[in-house]
Each structure stands twice: as C-alpha cells, then as structure tokens.
Amino acid sequence: MRQGLARALGGASILGLLVAGAAACNSTNNNAGNNSANCGYKIAFFGALTGSAANLGVNIEQGAELAVDQFNDKNGANCVTLAKFDSQGSGDVAPGVARELVKDTKILGIIGPAFSGESESADPIFEEAGIPTISPSATRPSLASNGWKVFHRAVANDDFQGPAAASYMKDVLKATKIYVADDQSAYGAGLADVVKSKLGNLVVGTDKTEADGKQPNNDFSVLVNKIVASGADAFFYGGYYTNAGLIQNQLTAAGWKGIQVGGDGVNDPGYAEAAGKAAAEGDIVTCPCSAAKAATGTFVADYKTKWGVDAGVYSDVAFDAANIFMNGIAAGNTSTDKLLTYVSGVNYTGVANTYKFTATGELDPSLVKVWSFKFDADGVAQPDQNIPMSS
C-alpha cells in the first residue's frame, strides 16, 4: 500500500517535471513583432572569462556586449542576444565548451576564440558546424592556414607583430643582448619564435616556462638567474600578463635593470599588478591594435559609462566584430551560411579599424597596424608609437 502510493506520487511528479520542461522549451521568441532587424538570433562570445589571463577575455566580452546593447536599444530589447561561453583560455577545456555552443542553432556568429591555443582546438568544431567566427585577438599565423572557411581574424597576426617587436628592441631600445623566453603556448611560443628569428644573434639565451598561472610555486628563479647571468639588457617574453608580471617582479628583486618586452598577451594592467608598478614602469608591450582610447565615435565614453572602467585591449575590435555580425543579420543574412558569405566579403569601417578579409580569413595587409605601449608609473600601458611595417 505504502509502496504503491510512493510509486504513484513519484510517477506523477516525474510526469509533471517532463511536461513543465517541455512547456519551458517551447517558449517561442517573444519578439516576433521586431522583425525589421531580423530579431531573435544570437551571437556568441567564446574565450577566457576566468583563469589567470581572464582580463583579456573579459575586455573582449564587454566590448561585444556594449555593441549588442546599443543595437538592441535601436532595434528592440533582446533583438540580438549575446551568449557567453567561458573556455578558461585553455586548449583542453575549449572543445567541450565549443560543442555546447554549436548545439544552440540560434547562434549565427562567434566573436572569438580569444586565444590561439583554444582556437586550434575549438575552430575545427566551429568549422564543422559552419558558424562564422571573427577573432579579435588570436594572433598565431598558422590558424589561417588550416583551410577553415569560418575563420576570420580582425587584427594582424604574429608574422606582423613579431618583426615589429624585434625591430622596436633593435632600433628604439637599441638593445644589444636580448634574452627570449615563452610559455610553450600556441600563441607565446609562436610569437617568441618569430622574434628570435628576426633578432638573429642579438639573442643571448632562450628558455621556456610553464603555461600562464601554472608555473610551479610561481618560482621563476632559474629563468631569472639565466637572464641576469647573460647580461641581457632586454628580455622578450612570449606569453600572458600574469607570468610576465611575476617574472618581472622576480627580475627586479634580483637587481636586474633591463627592460621587459611582451606581446599583446602582456598588454594588460594585470602585468603591473603582478610585477608591482615600480618594476613594471618603462616596460614595453606590442599590440596589433591601436589604443582602445583612440577609438572613434563615442565608443570610449560609452564603454566607460556601461562598465565603469576604461576600455581594455581589443575591446574596440570586439565591438566592431559584433557590429559586423549584427549588420549582417539585420541585412537579412539569418543563417550561418549567408552570414559567413557576408562576413567573408565585408568592407566595414568600425571604431578601431576598417575590416576586409583575405581568402584565408586574414585581415587585408593594407589595414594592418602594430603599436607599442609603455607602462607608466600607475601601471597602465600607454600608447607609445606606431611601429612601421618593415618586415
């Protein structure tokens, strides 16, 4: 009797849950009235929202979200939704998260993946699903040679950034002995290799570290000893801001007086936080971007109003990438195939740059730019100079 009652109750509640679940899933998009801009679709952000390099992903997500909000202000609330996917910046975690993303058929475009390592593992999944991607920050050159039709890069790759960093160290810093290290990541190792090949015999030593935030005990003393012993006056680190900052912290504590140079992965106030502002002052980072605060229009003020902080690296590029997608959707490209064709042939002038993509998805070489930034006494990377493309 008791058993029967229990079974009846259990069965009824399971049935009830199923019905409720089905009802919830059947909720049609309630903006059917706003079809002038083809509402009801989504674009996605895919990148690191947590982890030791999270600042870089958050900058991009916030830039994209600003664009989506402004679009929705004009075209109706929730016209376009920004779906966020946290890959933790890890090439291991990325595939699983990517598979989650492609299950949502409302997502027509992806802003990201933010990092090169996760691009290598997630882009094949996006290619198979046919969802166009625009990465505002993944700079590894080999990403464009995999034959992915969905791949687009909104900034210059490391074949531009690397030589620019090298020529800066040679011509501006006039360094004569340069030590080069990287964190063995797809981005860091790739960039360091390009820099090494351009510096030739100015390189007095090389080393590798573990991935960002994964160095055992954050102890870089072996690397620090090698740098100090080599007499290097400049140190290039291919990697992200947490490791770079910790290394600079320990280099300064060991009495080293040289300048550390990094790529766009180090271009974040997090570097000065990890190193200490005094240690970071004067250090250089490059970026295949101009300063976010040089963005045109009202972007800078709008970002500050919405988020309460200054725009970060690539926030402006992500803003443009989101707008490219949304313009495409509004123009009637409401399937991934049509949006992909649209993006591949787009010629769009945004707040950070003008965008045209080559057949492999690279940014048109005539639109490429690389800037150097210098950390000031407050730990902020200020724009230094536009490095001429020589290569």
Partner: protein, 318 residues
Amino acid sequence: MCVNFSGLLHNFGPDTLSGLQKGSIVALFALGYTLVYGVLRLINFAHSEVFMVGTFAAIGVWGVLGYDNNTKTPGFLLATGMILVGILAAMVASGATAMIVELVAYRPLRRRNAPPLAFLITAIGASLTLSEGFGVFTHHDQKGAPRLVAPTDLVVFGNTHIRILDLLLLGLALVMMFALDLFVNRTRMGRGIRAVAQSPDSAALMGVNKNRVIALVFLLGGLMAGVAAVMYLMKIGNTRYDAGFTLGIESFTAAVLGGIGNLRGALLGGLVLGLAEAYGGEVFGTPWQTVVSFVLLVAVLMFRPTGILGEALGRARA
C-alpha cells in the same frame, strides 16, 4: 630538450644560491610533514594549506600596516621590523590552522580508531576545503607581497652575487631548525613527542598526555610552515590560493629524501632538493625542474629506501 652543461658551469654560483634559497623554504615546510608522520604515521596533506594560510596572514598584516606590493622597499630597521611582524603573524595563523585541522579532521577519527585510509581521505578533503575556500574568497587571483629586502650585494665572487636575501633565508632555516631540534631533544615536552613517536601506548602508560603531544606536534609543524610562508613571500613576492600545492609535494618529497620522521633529514632533504632543482633547471631548462627532483627521489629510494639519514623521530639519536 637541449642539455646546457656549460650554463651550469658558468652560473654555478647563482644557481647554488637560488637552490639554497628554495631549499631553506622547503626544509622548514618539510618539518611539518616529517613531524606528523614521525608521531602519527599520517601524511598530513592539509599542511600545504597551513602554509598558504600563513602567506595570506603575513600579507594581510602588512596590508593593515600600509605595505602592499607597490610600496617602496623600506630601510634596514623598518624592513627588519616588518619581517618580524610578518613572521609572527604567519606563525600564529599557520599554527592555529594546523591545530584546528587536527582538532576537526583527525582527532574524531583517532577517537573512533578509524583505519589509516580514512585519515588519508580526510587529509585530502581538509586540504581541498581550505585551498578552494581561499580560492573563492580571493577570486583565484594572485596576491602581491611588499618587497622588504633590497637586492643589495654583500659579497661578489665573479658573477655570484651573495645578497642579504640569501643569508636571511638560509639563516632563518638553520635557526628555526636548531631551535626545533633543541626543543625536541632537550625539553620535557620534546621528550613527550619522542616517546609518543616511539610507542604511543607505552608513553600513555608513562603518563604522557597523547592528545596534548599530538596537538603540540601539529602546532610545531604549523609554526615552521609560518616561517616558511614569509620566506616564500620574500623570495617569490606573490601568493595564491594554491601556492602550497606544488611546494607541498616537493617538501614531502624532501622529507622522504632525507629520511621521513627525521628532523635533520628534513633539512638535508630540503637543501638537496633545492639545489637539484636549481642545477637541473639550468642544465635541462626551467620546465624540467620538478622532474629532476622526483627523479632524484626515485634514485635515492632505490639505493637507500629509508632516505639519506634514515632514522625516524623516536629512535636512537633523533
């Protein structure tokens, strides 16, 4: 992987110094493991979090006094004062954490005569609880420490710069080790520890309060970890919720290397491990550092299973 023996020859001095720095930290950290194992035959996995709590306590106290990672290095007297304050804060925090862990995680199991496996699982559970708990509160962020020691050279031999920090870290390790050794061998409470290590039941029959001795052992390990925590901050300059993890494994390795349960073994094991990692990292590259220390452990245990110095806490000389 390229082998760089010439680098080792050229940088032998600086590498020896940083190896001794690391070794000093590891040695004090290892004391906690070796004491608890010697007395309870328990691997206290939560000891790495005892260390981590010490680092945050020191940074916290320094923060209250107005020193953060952007403060300029103070002069000698002020720096000495701040270091002492930091050590005190870390010792109190780590010691308290160790005793609380013992009270909450291990004593209930001891009372119920739980099997050794239960202790092991509880130890891991306590470790994860503490580290993930701190992770949530600190948002898994790095926390910077003020630079209290200036990189002033004291003696220079060629490219070897012996600085204040080198002498300070090695000095602290030796002094604390000496103090602990004195305590265990010359005081009444120390005799109690050795008695319980040798034979818990006989010691109880002789009138030793087992529970108090065990609490004392955890406290001592925690105090040593507190000093190690401040030494770590002076060397590395940052901490994080998982700062104890790898160092904990390396320290336990050092304890086994030197002879688990043997106090002097912990010091020897720590210094040997620190040097091995420094030399190994120079020769094979930074990523191979940790590999070198574990290969060394395996090699030593193959030929001398009880570790370099062998004997345990309760036996013979101790």
